[in-house]
């Protein structure tokens, strides 16, 4: 009963939107008459071009989430170890978090295009003579630009949450570990890091799924062939003719189901790992 206010956004909009997406993918409730079969849209998903998009999306999401979580965890530890005055001044690390995704994508453009700032630096270092010699970071088919943008944007997210956990840990554990002869690396990985495992799992899920499904950054930095799934869907939905709409919806439904399965499997895996650790 007390939960009822959430029914508006959750049931009406979230579940309602999902239902509509599913039914449109099956050919119902479309703005135009549809003459295909019920599962035509889903068979169209096996198109090799789309499958390449799936691969790219998974790869970009995985790499950016992994890098963000590991760099963020180390930085959280570094910020935690800073002396008090610097610790308070270190709020500047939140800047990329406040920037919208499209602005972060813009910053990556400014720095990494062939005529960008890093290219200029390379010129002055004598590494190249014309912009064309600068490596294709942005459109080199490896999604590097998007990975850079996601990482720059999401590292502070991991830092905030990891730091919040460490705030509750007594700094004396580090002193104790050092007195017992542990080195810097060992102290971090065996004494401090375990406190952050849980939040790292959570952050990994969030960042992975966000990068997997988000639109803003690929729209600015994405490569066209293959494109990220979200951009493919956008093109199917808006740019090509309306007959493609069931396919667009089918892709979205599969992305949703994949995300659900990923959350469930990952949390199961993480909790079983945790139990194993506890037994040791």
């Amino acid at each position: 009963m007390k939960l009822s206010p959430l029914l508006v956004p959750f049931v009406l909009l979230f579940l309602g939107g999902l239902t509509l997406a599913v039914s449109q993918s099956l050919g119902f409730w479309l703005p135009l008459p549809y003459d295909g079969g019920m599962f035509d849209a889903y068979t169209a998903l096996l198109d090799p071009h789309l499958l390449e998009s799936v691969g790219l999306s998974l790869y970009v999401a995985l790499v950016s989430a992994l890098v963000s979580v590991s760099v963020g965890a180390m930085l959280a530890y570094a910020v935690w170890r800073l002396p008090d005055t610097l610790e308070r001044a270190s709020v500047v690390y939140k800047v990329p978090l406040i920037l919208p995704h499209i602005a972060v994508a813009f910053i990556v453009l400014v720095f990494w295009t062939k005529s960008g700032l890093f290219s200029s630096v390379a010129y002055h270092l004598g590494l190249l003579n014309t912009p064309a010699e600068f490596p294709s970071v942005l459109y080199g088919n490896y999604g590097l630009g998007m990975i850079l943008a996601y990482t720059y944007k999401e590292v502070p997210f991991m830092v905030i949450l990891g730091y919040a956990v460490l705030k509750r840990v007594s700094p004396r554990v580090v002193v104790a570990a050092k007195m017992l002869g542990a080195g810097e690396v060992y102290t971090f990985s065996h004494v401090v890091l375990p406190h952050m495992y849980r939040v790292m799992h959570v952050v990994f899920i969030i960042l992975f799924l966000y990068a997997f499904g988000a639109f803003d950054i690929p729209f600015l930095l994405g490569e066209s062939s293959p494109g990220m799934l979200s951009v493919e869907v956008f093109n199917l939905y808006f740019r090509r003719d309306l007959a493609n709409r069931p396919v667009a919806m089918a892709v979205l439904v599969c992305m949703f189901l994949f995300s659900l399965a990923f959350i469930v499997l990952y949390t199961k895996l993480a909790s079983s790992l945790e139990q194993k650790e506890r037994k040791l």
């Binding site: 206010p5 959750f10 930085l75 602005a103 502070p156 729209f219 979200s230 992305m255």
Partner: protein, 261 residues
């Protein structure tokens, strides 16, 4: 020595891009291979000055729908958060996880469906429609913050107020909400940021009819002249930062003696 170096590194990585954007906004002609811009002019400022009413309109609209989203999520989440924090029931963890799902799963899936739904309901291309769709995927942050807030406060204050004879409304307004202020600020900041910086959802549901700062900014970011995009990005940053500074200073002034913030 090492701490200072680490701090300098963090500050540099965070702030240097802003410095570069500032450089572009005062030197529109900055190109390869200059590391430091060679010619300065105020073209970007002049352009934006001439567009001031339009910039302000888009910014005001963004601030307004973001603030409305914060209010709406707060109203929707208060009672459920109280329930999750105070009561134990079967399937609680599952239900809580389910309610947090809209922030995790790809936004596009439900929002494309909602788009079709809103077209039928006449909510597409409306301000209210934008607020509703932003609420749907940002309320989990508010819910999480409020549940944690209620758990941190504990049930004693409510019991005590009830024992002293306070009714529901008095308890909510005089006791619970003031004690929840830190959590509301934490959750509200995230919701505001998420709503304020969202490009795709506003573009999809607002369809150009609802002004938004991100929508205004976007074409400048893809343009080959980077000066206006840079200046607008810096301007964009100023809104949430000044809002947070304002909230922070008001709240610390009011709550300094109370020891709860």
């Amino acid at each position: 020595m090492i701490p200072r170096f680490i701090y300098a590194l963090i500050a540099f990585v965070s702030l240097f891009p802003l410095l570069v954007l500032a450089g572009y906004s005062i030197a529109p002609g900055w190109t390869f291979p200059d590391i430091i811009p060679s010619r300065f002019d105020a073209r970007a400022f002049e352009y934006l000055g001439s567009q001031a009413p339009s910039v302000l309109r888009h910014m005001a609209s963004s601030v307004l729908y973001s603030l409305l989203t914060v209010c709406l999520t707060l109203m929707l989440c208060l009672s459920p958060a109280h329930h999750f924090a105070r009561c134990d029931f079967r399937g609680k963890a599952t239900l809580e996880g389910l309610f947090l799902a809209p922030a995790l799963v790809p936004v596009m899936t439900f929002s494309m469906g909602v788009h079709s739904l809103f077209i039928r309901l006449g909510l597409a291309d409306t301000f209210m429609g934008v607020v509703l769709v932003l609420t749907t995927f940002s309320y989990p942050y508010m819910l999480r913050a409020l549940v944690a807030g209620y758990q941190a406060i504990g049930p004693e204050y409510e019991q005590c107020a009830r024992n002293l004879g306070a009714g529901f409304l008095t308890r909510l307004l005089r006791i619970e909400l003031p004690l929840l202020v830190p959590s509301i600020i934490a959750g509200g900041s995230v919701v505001f940021l998420v709503a304020f910086s969202e490009y795709f959802l506003v573009f999809l549901i607002g369809g150009g009819a609802v002004d938004s700062f991100t929508g205004y900014l976007f074409p400048f970011l893809t343009s080959s002249d980077r000066s206006v995009g840079s200046l607008l990005t810096l301007l964009f940053l100023a809104v949430p930062v000044s809002l947070f500074v304002l909230v922070e200073s008001v709240v610390t002034r009011v709550y300094r003696n109370r020891g709860i913030y």
